[in-house]
């Protein structure tokens, strides 16, 4: 039973305003670069202007003599600072190739933006000014820009590896050997599609910022960083720098968005720490936006080959997928694992037999490393299956909604054991799809299309859809072990009832915009019967919250939130013993509601939590053997992933003369199980949808053939503005997860996972009548216009 059943006056499911907001709205909140650190030195980094080059010589004399400059270091000069290379925590195969990667390049640069020289100065402007005075001689090598060409090994980037291929990862599930091929041989219908997931720049509005502060005595060091992962960063920084872990404290102050791009261990964090220790002074660094474009990880970057086989009714009989995944120049924290997170989702929300053949090559290029970006592998997978389903519907000449209905896993089949062996916890895809169809007026749009999309029509109407699963709540530790991931997937929480019955909730999650303080206080309030305003939520500082695995992969609520509920249960269990002692009854005779323990059947024999909290503090009269204080720590390792799902629909018009797209309506029906705070859920969907829509229509990290990034600023990289995007119609179905006590699933990535294919399917739908059968992303007016022209010429 979930905790919200049979409850009235529950705070769960109410639209609580965010407690985070006043500080953020008044300028009181401190982001990393807002911290006042007297005497701090400023780090600036000279970066490679070449995608691929040998470093011949570096002359730093003029920079060293520049006003305000304290020190200048080349990669070779800092090499002794590192106990090991920068970490990759996800060696997806035993033979995965991983080139050593250090905070500054010592002998060779492998992408534009690769760090080459570090300058420390007494001010930010002095350190930046000095960069211009450094003379580096390079021997330029051929750039490797195209991920498929890279596989030819004509130009090998990391010579010691002997190849540009990092790994091949396979997931082949067959009921009988050869059944996938058989299914394709016998298929009544099949489609074979190629999709390109263009590289994206995450573009969190706060660029990264770092400050490392050595303590005056004892060798301890505090790292302030605009990071999603203070806990993981602490371990990794200690290992990379060879500092005992207990001497490292990591604090993530207010963090201005992440979207996966701050789920990493970055060179600048390690450089600031190493140089702060070397100089016994605080060292800080802040990223410029154009630096962010090159030196912060990129997202996506995959070429996908997807084949579907279906019987004559359109029922899927096999799925075959080949991925060429662009790792970039090096493997960052989870770079190789990103496409693997998608590997389980290429059958989407459909009931398929044991006939699934997935293979992914991870490939090095001379471009910025890729890594997790909102959705991380799952938007790519969803895009592929949902676009291929539309292609199959076109091949069969049936309605794409009808095709999906014939293939949905049915409500009665949950919990559903998938081809992969994973269990999908709960779902009702048909309900979500029908709700979306109702809100989008699917039937009405189809009727309107028949009238509007006549030959020669200037504006053609399209409707597209995507039904998705968001495999999230990362993750059961044992499953991660089977995927060779280098850590567990648990989350920790401490709930501490103070003497005056105020509560501290300590979480290992690390929010950066998601409103955890508000939602976690709601959970603790609900469990403990203590008002929200008496509850504080502490996070993002490894000295305050020593245990945690941070925030990414829509894990915070289904893992971290459930951990808080579990810690509350332990507090209540202990409080019950004290209450029984005070009321001189058996603990089993007590019931707990609204923050009060009372004897069953005798409600006047009662004791409130406040009295118990004070008794636990004074410890004057506790049951024999019971420890004083009312505090519990709980670590939750989820038994399963959670499986949010939903259906999105988009109605749009394409101007066939200009290629301009106008979105008329966007409907998102999402099911994330029980909603703790619907206000926050909707906000997550809005933002996620626009990020996915931006991939579909606007955004692309564009490189030239020499490996130069052409979109380094927000003037060139088209993050949409308010005037570029529509309002979103959100709606929900609620199918609680049976695997955790809150019934929650997670919502952080759903919008992004559903949106890109929804929009592109709508564009293709509008134009399929004039011969357009595919649309590259981003579907800019020029791209759309060209697709229309080439379809016309092919006729």
């Amino acid at each position: 039973m979930t905790m919200t059943e049979n409850r009235q006056n529950s705070v769960i499911g109410t639209r609580q305003l965010r407690r985070e907001d006043p500080a953020l709205l008044t300028g009181e909140a401190k982001f990393t670069n807002d911290l006042n650190l007297p005497g701090a030195l400023h780090l600036s980094i000279l970066r490679s202007p070449h995608a691929h080059a040998k470093i011949v010589s570096i002359d730093t004399a003029a920079a060293k003599a520049s006003p305000g400059v304290v020190a200048v270091y080349t990669g070779a000069e800092l090499q002794s600072q590192w106990a090991g290379p920068m970490p990759c925590a996800w060696p997806v195969t035993p033979d995965m190739k991983n080139p050593p990667h250090f905070p500054l390049a010592a002998s060779k640069v492998c992408y534009v933006g690769d760090g080459v020289v570090a300058v420390l100065a007494t001010s930010e402007s002095a350190s930046r000014d000095a960069l211009d005075l450094i003379d580096v001689e390079y021997k330029v090598l051929k750039a490797v820009v195209d991920v498929e060409e890279a596989l030819s090994d004509a130009n090998i980037i990391h010579e010691d590896l002997g190849t540009n291929k990092s790994y091949t990862w396979n997931l082949k599930i067959e009921a009988t050997e050869g059944c996938v091929e058989d299914a394709f041989q016998k298929a009544a219908f099949k489609v074979s599609e190629r999709y390109v997931q263009q590289r994206l720049l995450p573009m969190a509005m706060e660029p990264r910022a770092v400050a490392a502060v050595p303590q005056p005595f004892g060798g301890d060091i505090t790292l302030y960083s605009s990071t999603q992962i203070p806990h993981i960063l602490k371990v990794m920084a200690a290992l990379t720098l060879g500092i005992p872990e207990h001497q490292v404290r990591v604090v993530a102050p207010s963090v201005g968005g992440g979207f996966g791009s701050k789920l990493d261990v970055y060179a600048e964090e390690l450089l600031c720490m190493a140089l702060a220790r070397k100089h016994s002074l605080p060292v800080r660094w802040v990223e410029e936006r154009s630096e962010n474009s090159m030196a912060t990880i990129h997202g996506r970057g995959q070429v996908q080959y997807v084949e579907l086989a279906a019987d004559k009714s359109g029922k899927l009989t096999a799925v075959r997928v080949r991925i060429k995944a662009d790792m970039g120049a090096y493997l960052q924290l989870v770079t190789p694992g990103v496409p693997i997170l998608g590997a389980f989702l290429y059958a989407g929300v459909y009931d398929i037999p044991l006939a699934y053949d997935f293979s992914c090559d991870g490939i090095f290029t001379t471009l910025t490393p890729t890594d997790a970006y909102r959705g991380a592998g799952r938007p790519e997978a969803t895009y592929a299956i949902e676009s291929a389903m539309d292609a199959l519907a076109r091949a069969m000449k049936i309605d794409p909604l009808e095709l999906r209905k014939r293939n949905f896993i049915q409500k009665e089949q949950f919990p559903y054991t998938a081809f992969s062996g994973l269990t999908y916890d709960s779902g009702d895809h048909l309900q979500a799809a029908e709700k979306a169809a109702g809100l989008a007026d699917y039937a009405g749009i189809r009727a309107q299309q028949a009238k509007q999309n006549v030959p020669g029509a200037k504006k053609r109407l399209g409707i597209g859809m995507s039904s998705y699963f968001e495999m999230c709540g990362l993750a059961p530790s044992r499953v991660l072990a089977s995927l060779n991931y280098g850590a567990g997937g648990w989350e920790a929480a401490t709930v501490r009832v103070l003497p005056t019955c105020k509560v501290q909730v300590v979480t290992g999650t690390s929010p950066h915009g998601q409103g955890h303080e508000t939602s976690w206080a709601m959970i603790a309030s609900e469990k403990l019967g203590i008002p929200q305003e008496d509850i504080d939520v502490l996070h993002s500082d490894t000295a305050i919250s020593p245990l945690g695995l941070d925030t990414y992969g829509s894990r915070s609520l289904p893992v971290g939130g459930v951990a808080i509920a579990g810690a509350c249960d332990k507090v209540i269990d202990k409080a019950r013993l004290i209450a029984a002692h005070q009321l001189e009854c058996s603990a089993d005779d007590l019931e707990f509601a609204g923050g009060v323990f009372s004897v069953k059947g005798s409600p006047d024999r009662a004791v409130p939590m406040a009295a118990i909290a004070f008794a636990a503090f004074t410890a004057h009269n506790l049951p024999d053997g019971l420890e004083p204080n009312l505090e519990a720590q709980y670590t939750y390792d989820p038994p399963n992933f959670s499986w949010p799902f939903g259906t999105h629909m988009c109605v749009l018009e394409v101007d066939t003369e200009t290629g301009q797209i106008e979105i008329l309506k966007y409907v998102a029906v999402d099911d994330c199980g029980v909603q703790i705070n619907p206000l926050i859920v909707e906000g997550q969907v809005h933002g996620g949808v626009i990020q996915g829509l931006a991939q579909a229509l606007f955004e692309e990290a564009v490189y030239d053939t020499d490996g130069n990034l052409k979109t380094t600023t927000l003037a060139e990289y088209l993050v949409p503005a308010a005037s570029d995007v529509p309002s979103i119609t959100t709606a929900h179905t609620v199918t609680p997860s049976p695997t955790n006590q809150l019934g929650v699933k997670g919502i952080g990535e759903a919008g992004t996972i559903g949106a890109a294919s929804t929009v592109i399917n709508a564009v293709v739908d509008a134009l399929s009548g004039i011969g357009v059968t595919s649309m590259p992303m981003p579907a800019s007016p020029q791209t759309v216009w060209r697709a229309i022209q080439s379809a016309a010429q092919a006729k």
């Binding site: 300028g27 604090v251 605080p282 308010a722 005037s723 309002s727």
Partner: protein
């Protein structure tokens, strides 16, 4: 939670650097207080506010005047403080996000953002709020489309703008 500010009393090496930089004196009224300071001629208003007055509520999000995170009011108009030199603001009146609330009560626009969940990470928010107030000053009763066009110089990566637009429309009705 409130992150404690680190307290360190370590003096910078090289503070006695003897290089000479030309400075000019500016006098700017910021949030009602007249500030007289020496600045380098190249100092941008945003750096003046953040570094010299420690008004760190105004954020920097780009280097091309594209994002609007640094929007403040200069002589009553919303401007991007990265496009103005401190020297150009000499004699002027500036309001930053820190200067909006009165006696501990937030400005109606700040309240509208809170009530409509118009912010998530909060980094673009100070600039977004200042731009939104500027927008309503020019057009007190905008349509949704006018709000969207009016805010096109301010980028947000979290909210998808849906609730920002809602916040501004709600503030207009206050």
């Amino acid at each position: 939670m409130r992150h404690d500010e680190p307290r360190h009393d370590i003096r910078a090496q090289g503070e006695s650097e003897s290089y000479i930089m030309v400075h000019i004196k500016v006098s700017i009224t910021v949030n009602g207080t007249q500030q007289e300071k020496d600045v380098e001629p190249r100092t941008l208003l945003v750096h003046f506010l953040r570094d010299q007055l420690q008004l760190t509520g105004t954020n920097i999000g780009c280097d091309t005047s594209s994002c609007g995170a640094c929007t403040i009011h200069l002589d009553g108009e919303a401007v991007k403080s990265c496009t103005v030199l401190a020297a150009q603001a000499d004699g002027g009146t500036v309001t930053t996000i820190e200067g909006l609330s009165k006696d501990g009560v937030m400005h109606p626009m700040q309240q509208a953002f809170m009530e409509n969940h118009g912010l998530q990470c909060g980094y673009c928010t100070p600039g977004m709020v200042m731009a939104s107030i500027g927008l309503l000053n020019e057009n007190p009763n905008p349509t949704e489309e006018e709000v969207r066009l009016g805010l096109e110089g301010n980028l947000c990566r979290c909210t998808g703008y849906h609730n920002i637009v809602k916040s501004v429309l709600a503030a207009a009705k206050k």
